[in-house]
Symmetry: C2
Subunit: 444 residues, 2 copies
């Protein structure tokens, strides 16, 4: 037993996080552009009292659209729609600092925060996809380091814009004819390396002051960035010890930035595959894995290593670890390539086994088991300071999510680990985060 | 009597289109960031069977936030929210070609079109506001000509992206394991002066194929652009003869581009101020005009003429027409400055009178009168080929809109001029526009 409350986010995929989920009868591939599909998912998650739901975004279709379900809706518009069909759950949209302008992004998130009554979150990404670059006039992706440098300035600009109207700037005095107190609306006058932005924003300060900042960087640069800005962190962790190391490192780095380590919630990914017995769960996992195609797995693995071609290796032999590109040279998703190499080192799989191993969670933890086993895992990792909660990644939708909500959540609630009902209205309240004051607010 | 059906769009303002509307007791300035305010407005317009509602966008706050209600929500997120509380009305968002990337814009509109079941429209603007430039790294606005040149290439890119998935690209064949037919998903390979975009879009083709293209250019360049691309046109017209000239010119230009002139609906702005008698309507107009402040009017007038300072002129004297900057030198809103000069020439107002004259509609037609008089005006302009319908600009909200819906719409319906109920579901159907086939579709 512990008094620590855990946090749950659902990572809303296309048909499911399993690569072959669209081929599984429990998924609904025909509904990817149907807003009611997402409304249904949001309703299930809200019934499960989840802190938030989250939409990823790649700004390009992947290379295997022939075999992999793709083409969902754009996150900010979709979450604005979901705000109206939900009342409490947080709404986290991914948006890129590499391929957009901070003024446009700041106001769309501020607007979503108003529309949802304080439930908006921004998953800050630098866009690891090489395909995205070609949609924005670049022959190739900028380097990992350059992307994080731009991201840092970008976030500074966005936060200034969110603060540019103080909370009480609107005076609305009809007698005096004063709509707003211009002393409480601030030009930000940002002049930096990548951006020059005058401001103020064209939208008054939003309910949360600043929408919640989420990030998923796990490389050295990524952790530094997250420790400085993130209020929630998504991460791929396979192993308790490694996850504890990541957890301790990020909290320590946050402290070094003068932040309260409790102000960053660390949420490793977890893809549960549930069965009423362990055998049943494993059978379901097998069924899903049997639907995978090596050609798809090879393309995905290749993407994790900047396009390196693994198809030259025989499927049923082990690949020597030296044959992989070194993670520190990877310009896409540095840390994820490391997670994969750790698996290779630990488990020494054949190429075919490795592809199956990654089909469920792309490097995130997949756990096939009973609801109790999944709840035990969650409890253990939180108690052992490897996590503040989890980023739940259902293998198929919506059934994988509703099984978790109906079978695992009640166990967590019974153990006193998870809320039985929402106690606040804003995403900040769910995550136990303070509401920032505007940096421009005059001292009283 | 005529068989011609008219089209009605409501231009949703902050507190109203009258500059001083927020000071009027019938407006609700405290609700500008409240999504329910817009839901209420959308419900009124849908009750009135309007074709569409429209949100403008400046990408900056204006200079007179002390005295003018500003700071509403961002159009694309707001309309995505309104899609859920409405079922038929078209949803038109303004978005700038000057300060955004076509890939980002294309997918947000495609997403809105999916979310709304085919009700999205894009008001294409080049952003005339000088303030906006400073929020996007520019010291000053690009020239009128440069903005339209970029806009032309931008729209080409967006339309290619919208077409990049053919309608039937998703095959969803679980037996063969084929999710999509890659022969029907097309890289667009755009290489132009301002943009290089590979594509395809990351969202399947939307219900309307292409969201409806709306534009409000009225200068020579603007008309050329509109005649080539626009399916609906907003325009400011004071005078029947001038409006007829504009109407004929745009339809002729459309024909020259090989387009069906009926495929462009021309919607002049109209701000009705209603009373049960003409005297009552005029009294309401006076009441609103009396709330104006010359300091606000001067700032607005100055904005129409690229910052030219009118405050040096005595308020109660006529300004000689030669004192105004010449419209063709104006880099912001060329055509609107011409509309204002025409008023000066025709009516020879003092500066104070001119400011009052512009307070209601900023150059758009303001009509204070009985519901019958307003209906007569609408009928006359449509019959006289000066308009295909109107862009209704209520002086104050929501009361100005509900008065129009309750008092003017029934007259138009009784005269057989306007629909009694929706006959279609998409914005294209309301406006009688065909659904474009993907340019990449293979002939059968
Ligand atoms: C759960 C999760 C979701 C992510 N979603 C996205 C996404 O939607 N778009 C994206 O470009 N990157 C996404 N990423 C990648 C991260 O932003 C980051 O690039 C990655 O975790 C590697 O970290 P690094 O950049 O520090 O090497 C995600 C990562 C995780 C763990
Ligand atoms: C009803 C109406 C609404 C408009 N809304 C916007 C807007 O939201 N944002 C913007 O930058 N320009 C807006 N404009 C300006 C037009 O895009 C255009 O710049 C203006 O009509 C002048 O035409 P011109 O650019 O061809 O001179 C609007 C114009 C009209 C008539």
């Amino acid at each position: 037993m512990t008094n620590k409350h855990i946090h749950l986010n659902v990572f809303v995929p296309t048909t499911g996080h399993h690569e072959a989920s669209w081929l599984y009868s429990g998924s609904q591939p025909e509904r990817l552009t149907d807003v009611d599909y997402y409304r249904e998912i949001a309703a299930i998650a809200e019934r499960g009292k989840f802190d938030s739901l989250f939409l990823a975004d790649q700004l390009a279709i992947g290379r295997s659209v022939k075999h992999v379900a793709q083409g969902k809706l754009e996150p900010l518009t979709l979450l604005s729609a979901l705000a109206g069909s939900t009342s409490h759950i947080g709404l986290i949209a991914t948006a890129s600092t590499t391929y957009s302008e901070p003024y446009n992004l700041a106001r769309q998130f501020a607007s979503l925060d108003h529309i949802s009554g304080g439930r908006a979150g921004w998953n800050i990404v630098t866009s690891w996809s090489a395909e995205a670059a070609g949609n924005f006039g670049l022959d190739q992706r900028n380097s990992h380091t350059d992307r994080y440098r731009r991201a840092t300035e970008y976030v500074e600009v966005v936060r200034k814009l969110w603060d540019s109207w103080e909370d009480d700037a609107r005076v609305l005095d009809r007698t005096l004819g004063i709509y707003a107190d211009t002393a409480r609306i601030h030009a930000i006058g940002h002049q930096g390396e990548a951006f020059r932005v005058r401001g103020p924003l064209d939208i008054p300060r939003s309910p949360q002051g600043n929408p919640v900042l989420v990030q998923a960087g796990s490389s050295d640069e990524g952790r530094g960035f997250a420790a400085r800005y993130a209020e929630a962190i998504f991460t791929a962790q396979q192993d308790l010890g490694e996850a504890q190391g990541f957890y301790a490192d990020v909290k320590r780095r946050a402290l070094a930035f003068g932040r309260d380590p409790d102000g960053i919630k660390i949420l490793p990914g977890l893809s549960p595959i549930l069965g009423s017995t362990e055998a049943e769960a494993r059978a379901l996992e097998e069924e899903l894995d049997d639907l995978t195609l090596p050609v798809v797995g090879l393309k995905h693995l290749s993407q994790r290593f900047d396009g390196f071609d693994f198809s030259v290796f025989p499927l049923d032999e082990r690949i020597p670890i030296e044959a992989f590109p070194r993670p520190e040279t990877v310009q896409g998703a540095q840390s994820r390539s490391q997670v994969i190499l750790n698996i290779v080192e630990r488990e020494k799989p054949t190429l075919r086994q490795l592809l199956r191993r990654l089909a469920g969670g792309r490097g995130h933890k997949v756990l096939a088991g009973t609801p109790k086993a999944v709840a035990d895992h969650i409890q253990l990792w939180v108690e052992q300071r490897a996590a503040d909660g989890f980023n739940i990644m259902p293998a198929f939708m919506p059934g994988g999510l509703s099984a978790f909500v109906d079978e695992v959540v009640p166990i967590l609630q019974a153990r006193g680990l998870f809320r039985r009902d929402y106690t606040g209205r804003s995403l900040r309240e769910h995550y136990g985060l303070t509401r920032p004051e505007s940096r421009y607010a005059r001292s009283a």
